[in-house]
């Protein structure tokens, strides 16, 4: 049984067992897993000593799955069953994917039926891919990558993982974040936190270099671009603004070379296999041009036709110039949102493999009037930062603790009359954040209403991203305008939106049906979990029970520690007895093997400790300022 550390923030803790946690960088091109060993972040390699796992998943007709190098090696031979860059499809509908001519996949549009106030309709739904093993959602494909990393971590660390921090592009919207979290859930990973990639890089960089001041993190990955402006001061990492483009990355540079190859060789309408082959050659050429003035691209097409072209660095830079420029627009916006100018930026940290391209480094250097910092491996820095944060979140607290304040990248709003979007939580709000909004009925006796939640900066709902529709039912019938329904939009520390509603007059909780526009419903997740475990039903149940038992033991330890510290001071006898009864109840069912009973007892104990947790927090908040008032008096 793992010992839990004492939960008092800021206090030194008794020696305790190290709890295993990892950071996972789920990248467009490559994925990595890292952990903290003896206080130092290390990337975990596979048995062949390789750190990077290519984010490539190949499906077979018998249901088998291959991930990584072996799958990547077959991408030209079996292009439609070998999924690369699946991150680009996470939380996206078919119409978002854009130009699909360059991809060899068989897309399945998966609209989901929805009911609106004007009758039933269809939500766009997340795009799906038809493979030899059946139709797969990008969430399932990503979960295959995560499963491999989870297994790698399990072997390397030799113990039960408490959980993982999984990184996402800072500019990912709610649907993309939720899809990532769902993929982890499918892979059996407890997500400690979704962490923004540039922020993760800043942690790794900032702690390593003990820097202070305002820094920009320029993160150009395989398929996404982020810019974050952070203020680093005395153990605080504060994101001031973030911006980006979640559909711009190294892949687009490959695609420019690919198009050039087609044009140069008079090719058109290639098959899936040739397309993949040339895209692979294009990527190799791009990487070659980082070190060399020119590169020779050769390929033999399926028809037997041989192509050979020479590409100079100069030509490559010219054809990709506007891609580089497209990254600078979000940079300008982020600076403006932070209320800063280029002169305020003390350093620029480069993250992501695509920042190795000399034209990118030059453009960034010109823009910021300084040489960007490249002393940490741009492929590994995100995973390392995630591992360092995972170590803290798991409760392996070090003495030099830090605070991370991150933001929501895109405004959240609701649809109002005339298809306009009304912003309710502006972009760059520090998370967690919440906003309550009151609604009323417009018809006598109206008992239901529909709320459409969108994300984005544009005025028209149709130009924003549809996140979800909420059906409120069970409103007590009243005259029009009399009902007062308060809807609370809460964004948690993962940047994920939760919505709750309450009728103010009667105090009844209105029932909410959430239909995520691009996400998966709980039912769909349950079905996928079941499908993936069809062959190992017994295994799954045993694992689920073990997970619940681990959680129960952690909870019992945490509550015991809290009682030891504050029980006598904050609770009367009856209050303490109630909590002890909850603990006894959980202990009694722990070894019965009845997973439902364990779950129920965990919930009961949690509920029994809410008021106690609140009182403990009150105490630590008062003490935080109280202890400082003498030395920190206002003038």
């Amino acid at each position: 049984m793992a010992l839990l550390q004492i939960s008092e923030p800021g206090l030194s803790t008794a020696p305790h067992e190290h709890r295993l946690a990892v950071g996972i960088d789920l990248g467009t091109t490559n994925s990595l897993v890292a952990t903290v060993r003896n206080g130092i972040g290390v990337v975990l390699n596979d048995s062949n000593g390789r750190a990077l796992l290519p984010s490539v998943v190949r499906y077979f007709a018998d249901g088998g799955v291959q991930v990584g190098e072996t799958a990547q090696a077959m991408q030209s031979e079996d292009p439609s069953n070998t999924i690369v860059s699946v991150k680009r499809f996470m939380g996206r509908g078919l119409n978002d994917v854009g130009d699909i001519s360059g991809t060899p996949y068989r897309f399945v549009d998966a609209p989901s039926p929805i009911a609106t106030s004007r009758g039933s309709g269809q939500a766009p739904g997340m795009v799906q891919l038809r493979t030899a093993a059946g139709v797969k959602s990008p969430v399932e494909v990503s979960s295959e990558i995560l499963k491999v990393l989870r297994a790698r971590a399990g072997e390397a660390l030799g113990g039960e993982l408490v959980g993982a921090v999984i990184t996402v592009p800072a500019y990912f919207d709610d649907a993309q974040r939720q899809a990532t979290k769902d993929a982890a859930r499918l892979a059996g990973i407890n997500v400690l936190r979704l962490l923004n990639e540039p922020t993760a890089a800043a942690i790794a960089y900032g702690l390593d270099n003990a820097v202070e001041g305002v820094y920009a993190v320029y993160d150009l990955g395989g398929g996404t671009f982020d810019i974050s402006i952070l203020k680093l001061s005395k153990g605080v990492f504060e994101v001031l603004a973030t911006n980006g483009n979640s559909a711009l990355g190294g892949d687009d540079f490959d695609h420019r070379i690919y198009c050039w190859l087609l044009e140069k060789n008079g090719l058109s309408a290639l098959g899936a296999s040739d397309t993949r082959r040339l895209l692979t050659r294009a990527r190799a050429a791009k990487e070659e041009l980082t070190e060399h003035d020119e590169t020779r691209v050769t390929a033999i097409l399926q028809s037997g036709e041989a192509i050979e072209s020479v590409l100079s660095q100069q030509d490559f830079h010219a054809m990709s110039q506007n891609l580089v420029e497209r990254t600078l627009q979000p940079v300008r916006r982020a600076l403006r949102d932070a209320g800063l100018s280029v002169a305020d930026i003390k350093g620029v940290v480069m993250v992501g493999g695509a920042t190795r391209m000399p034209q990118v480094q030059r453009a960034v250097a010109e823009f910021f009037h300084q040489t960007p910092l490249t002393n940490l491996d741009p492929d590994k820095v995100v995973a390392l930062g995630a591992a360092i944060q995972a170590n803290v979140l798991a409760g392996n607290r070090s003495s030099d603790d830090w605070l991370l304040l991150d933001v929501i990248p895109l405004s959240l709003g609701i649809e109002t009359m005339g298809g306009l979007a009304e912003k309710i939580i502006p972009r760059n709000s520090t998370i967690p954040t919440a906003r309550a909004q009151d609604f009323t009925t417009f018809k006598d006796g109206q008992t239901a209403m529909s709320v459409h939640v969108v994300q984005g900066e544009r005025e028209m709902v149709s130009d924003c991203r549809s996140l979800a529709r909420f059906e409120l039912r069970g409103i007590p019938p009243m005259v029009a305008g009399a009902a007062r329904i308060r809807i609370t939009f809460q964004v948690d520390a993962d940047g994920l939106l939760n919505v709750s509603a309450r009728e103010q007059g009667s105090g009844t909780e209105a029932h909410i049906t959430v239909k995520p526009s691009y996400g998966l419903s709980d039912d769909e997740i349950a079905r996928m979990l079941q499908e993936s475990s069809r062959h190992a039903q017994g295994d799954m149940q045993a694992r689920a029970l073990r997970e619940q038992q681990v959680e129960a033991n952690q909870l019992l330890d945490a509550v015991q520690n809290a009682l030891d510290l504050d029980g006598a001071a904050l609770l009367d006898e009856a209050g303490q007895a109630r909590i002890r009864a909850g603990m006894d109840g959980l202990r009694a069912v722990l070894q019965t093997g009845d997973i439902h009973a364990v779950k129920r007892a965990i919930t009961q104990l949690n509920d029994a400790t809410v008021a106690f947790a609140q009182a403990r927090m009150d105490k630590s908040v008062s003490r935080a300022l109280g202890g400082r008032k003498l030395t920190d008096l206002e003038v």
């Binding site: 550390q5 939960s7 923030p9 800021g10 400690l192 936190r193 605080v236 627009q329 300008r332 916006r333 403006r336 949102d337 803290v392 979140l393 798991a394 409760g395 603790d401 605070l403 991370l404 304040l405 709000s429 520090t430 998370i431 967690p432 954040t433 919440a434 809460q490 948690d492 520390a493 952690q554 909870l555 945490a558 509550v559 809290a562 904050l570 009367d572 209050g575 104990l605 949690n606 400790t609 809410v610 008021a611 106690f612 947790a613 609140q614 009182a615 403990r616 927090m617 009150d618 105490k619 630590s620 908040v621 008062s622 935080a624 300022l625 400082r628 008032k629 920190d632 206002e634 003038v635």
Partner: protein, 180 residues
């Protein structure tokens, strides 16, 4: 259970241990903000019970709201006036001095012209002029609220500040419109 949940009833100034006035020490505000978040932030409770995680999120949310309110001049003034029982009548009172409204129209025209001419240098100029005028309004606010306790006039200045905030947003969108 002893009554200990007083802190959630505190106003934002009490929460940050600051005296309730318009003029405040921004560095001190930042320091207090960090001190409080270091106690309550969800990252400190990720490994603990669900009850503690829930309470942590509620507190961190409240402290963020408090900080955003006190850190923003117009929001701070509106909040302070409401604590003093003076309503800024943001929604109902839209009557503004005629010359102020005319000036607003001139601002909008200037922004529009800069966009049409794709002149970002002109937008820079408009932006710094707006910042200058906003600063002047804030000085007036401090005088009216903290020294003269003239909440009626203060409320009008807050409404003007709101107009300026909208202009600042429009200048932001104008930069975006030029920068395609």
């Amino acid at each position: 259970m002893r009554a200990a949940a007083n802190d959630f009833q505190q106003d934002f100034y009490q929460l940050f241990g600051l005296s309730a006035q318009y003029r405040l020490d921004n560095e001190l505000l930042d320091r207090r903000y960090h001190t409080l978040q270091a106690q309550v932030h969800p990252d400190k409770f990720a490994h603990l019970s669900e009850a503690e995680r829930r309470v942590s999120m509620q507190w961190a949310t409240r402290i963020n709201e408090a900080y955003q309110t006190l850190n923003n001049p117009a929001k701070r003034a509106r909040y302070l006036l409401s604590l003093r029982g003076a309503d800024t009548r943001q929604e109902s009172n839209t009557s503004m001095p005629a010359e102020f409204l005319v000036a607003q129209m001139e601002w909008r025209e200037a922004i529009q012209e800069a966009v049409e001419a794709r002149n970002s240098g002109e937008l820079d100029k408009l932006e710094s002029r707006l910042q200058h005028e906003t600063g002047a309004l804030q000085e007036q606010l401090a005088a009216k609220i903290d020294a003269e306790h003239d909440y009626e006039t203060a409320a009008e200045i807050v409404r003007k500040l709101k107009f300026f905030e909208r202009l600042a947003e429009e200048i932001g969108s104008a930069f975006d419109a030029i920068d395609i």
